[in-house]
Symmetry: C2
């Protein structure tokens, strides 16, 4: 019987992108909009990458399904520079971090299985779970504790016989939380005791501020067979549109499954792999990452400073990634975000934020929160926060709670 | 419990790629191999595409999830040139034809649903079905009838309450069959009577020889709500590594589902979309397609001519795409293909073919068949077929049946 599938119904439109039609309309009317809703940095992609892109041969052919040998080796060198040794068969080039996550989920879950995930979480996890017919079970965290993990017992209470994995994003999108080595140790113990996998989305690995350490899940001793890392070059090289990422695991069965899925889709984009190889072979690729991360550190500081001036707003200073989940003095942040774009303007300008409610799966949570992606330069960010202040002052009373 | 999923176990390694380790070994020993196992054309990607690739902005950013507006419009113009009108929301840019197929399956099936597919079929359908936990039900076709569809009743007998769609590849990979308008009409009647969808993989649309017409499923009147077309620029523009394709449907619910899946993976590759726009805006892009298709017509003729000289081989002249399924006088074509690569050589050269067995899901079928992808120039093809002849003469007797 011809019908749209249940999993299609259960997949949500991206809340990050759902205000786009309103924004398009506002722009048509001449309004200038500061886009803080989506994790798309404004920084140039490194020149070496762009040069490599041009080195693609005359026949733009499929690459091997696991990626060009040179690209796999370049990524292995990148990991080695981080102190992480990966064999030839322990890493596979994916079409963005998104595909890495899809492969990870498909490799270790069947329809009806469950995956624990700290909440709030990156909304697209919901979509991938729906596409894979898997249930995400939230581990509730709170703004007041900087969204750090709940107590071990609270996490273990969520484990059922269908639980296959814990999925973390570290540093975290949307909260900016960087998990401590104590937290990672707790996760490791849970994973071992309950015979689970740990899927770690580490696409923001280098975006860690204040000199905090970042420990990759691949560096957890004793967990080699349990860890699957999803990675992407999108953020650290400001190359979101390149659609290159990686899945890495020391579990040979996981990598065998990933290779089979990879063969089904034939090849990640070829030209971009030439870009990546050229970039990672340039000795100073880490300088490019530093340049990008230092800029985001400045932005984080500016954002946090400005947020202190927003009456009724609350946010623990984010430690990593380039997001913050901020409580606002409104009763319905989604309505407020829509109003911001379509009704409000301050000297012809306004701000686009992502309502945080959709980053939660627990009903009622995050209603008064927004996610701010600090992907614009310091001056623009400060300007955007001043607009937010003006907006909160102008927001019609019934919607204010502060 | 940490385990690899059933769907991962059920996904197969690509049979097209599984002889690669043997081939790598043979090449190391200095053997020259003619690769007729994989659908990777040797023709240059059009210059306009390569120029467009360089026009990607300084920040290689996500494109909209449905593709750059310009890319969507360029593809709509391409369809309009074929006489097919598609609205803005009836087409979405995908990461290759593979992703289009994944989105189509996920949009209209839930785990356990069934999809009918003429057999032999493109092996990666198996992988996508496994990933989507969907069962492919084969509609058996025969070499002697050029792999045309079975009688209507035989097809209808395969329909159960779980059947959601019929999936065709037209022109067909691996058989080269181009379905007649009578066959398409029969499919239409079945689809309507049994309330199904028709998924049509038309990535070889222009590869039709001898002046035969090709009718797109999008041109079947009365089936607008039931048709989902999966498309790709890989073959017609010899741009396999570009990873650009499209999903097209006039069913708004299908396209809504596809957009949700597309948003989950954020964006198809951006630089290649600039390439595509530049190419499709060049007035003579159809000349590029003609140049490629005419070359394949010559190859098809040369291959077929040479196959007549291979004693014991059987193949109806393929009408489209760039594949042929050929019966060989051997009892186990998979063993023969492995032997060809690793044991045999003729003046330092050999041939790599794809065993056809894996293009079948019915046990025992296709054992004595191979798929030949005629992706090399005429002289190389003739040479490869002479090598095949010599190989069959040299093949140890017990394996020969002819």
């Amino acid at each position: 019987m011809a019908r749209i599938s249940t999993r299609a119904h259960e997949t949500q439109f991206s809340p990050i992108r759902k205000l786009k039609p309103l924004a398009d309309e506002a722009r048509k009317q001449g309004k200038r909009i500061y886009n803080l809703n989506i994790g798309q940095p404004d920084l140039p992609t490194p020149q070496a990458f762009r040069e490599g892109l041009r080195e693609v041969p005359e026949v733009i052919a499929y690459s091997p399904s696991q990626g060009l040998d040179e690209a796999v080796d370049a990524l292995r060198r990148y990991y080695r520079d981080l102190g992480i040794e990966l064999g030839r068969d322990q890493l596979l080039v994916t079409t963005g971090g998104s595909e890495a996550l899809l492969f990870a989920l498909l490799a270790i879950t069947d329809p009806g299985d469950e995956v624990l995930v700290p909440e709030p979480f990156y909304t697209n996890y919901n979509s991938y779970a729906a596409m894979a017919s898997v249930r995400l079970v939230p581990l509730e965290t709170e703004p007041e504790t900087g969204f750090h993990l709940p107590e071990r017992e609270a996490m273990e209470r969520k484990i059922t016989e269908r639980t296959q994995a814990i999925l973390i994003c570290n540093p975290n999108n949307p909260t900016g939380t960087v998990y401590t080595s104590d937290e990672l140790r707790t996760l490791k113990e849970i994973v071992l005791e309950h015979d689970l996998f740990l899927i770690a989305d580490e696409v923001y690995r280098e975006f860690v501020y204040d000199g905090l350490p970042h420990q990759s899940a691949l560096q957890l001793p004793g967990l080699e067979e349990r860890v699957i890392v999803c990675d992407s070059i999108s953020k650290r090289f400001s190359a979101c549109g390149a659609r290159l990422g990686a899945i890495a695991s020391r579990n040979p069965d996981v990598m065998e499954a990933a290779l089979k899925f990879a063969q089904a889709r034939l090849s990640p984009p070829t030209a971009e792999q030439f870009g990546l190889v050229r970039l990672l072979r340039s000795g100073d690729y880490r300088r490019e990452i530093r340049r990008i991360v230092e800029e985001f550190a400045r932005r984080r500081d500016a954002l946090f400073e400005e947020l202190q001036r927003v009456e009724g707003a609350f946010c623990v200073k984010p430690q990593g990634a380039f997001y913050a989940v901020v409580k606002l003095p409104v009763d319905d942040a989604e309505r407020f975000c829509a109003w911001l774009v379509s009704e409000f303007e301050h000297e012809g300008e306004t701000v686009m934020l992502a309502p945080a409610r959709d980053f939660y799966s627990t009903p009622g949570k995050g209603r008064d929160e927004v996610r701010i992606a600090y992907v614009l330069g310091v001056e623009k960010l400060r300007r955007a926060m001043r607009i937010l202040r003006a907006a909160l002052e102008a927001y019609p009373d019934p919607g204010r709670t502060g």
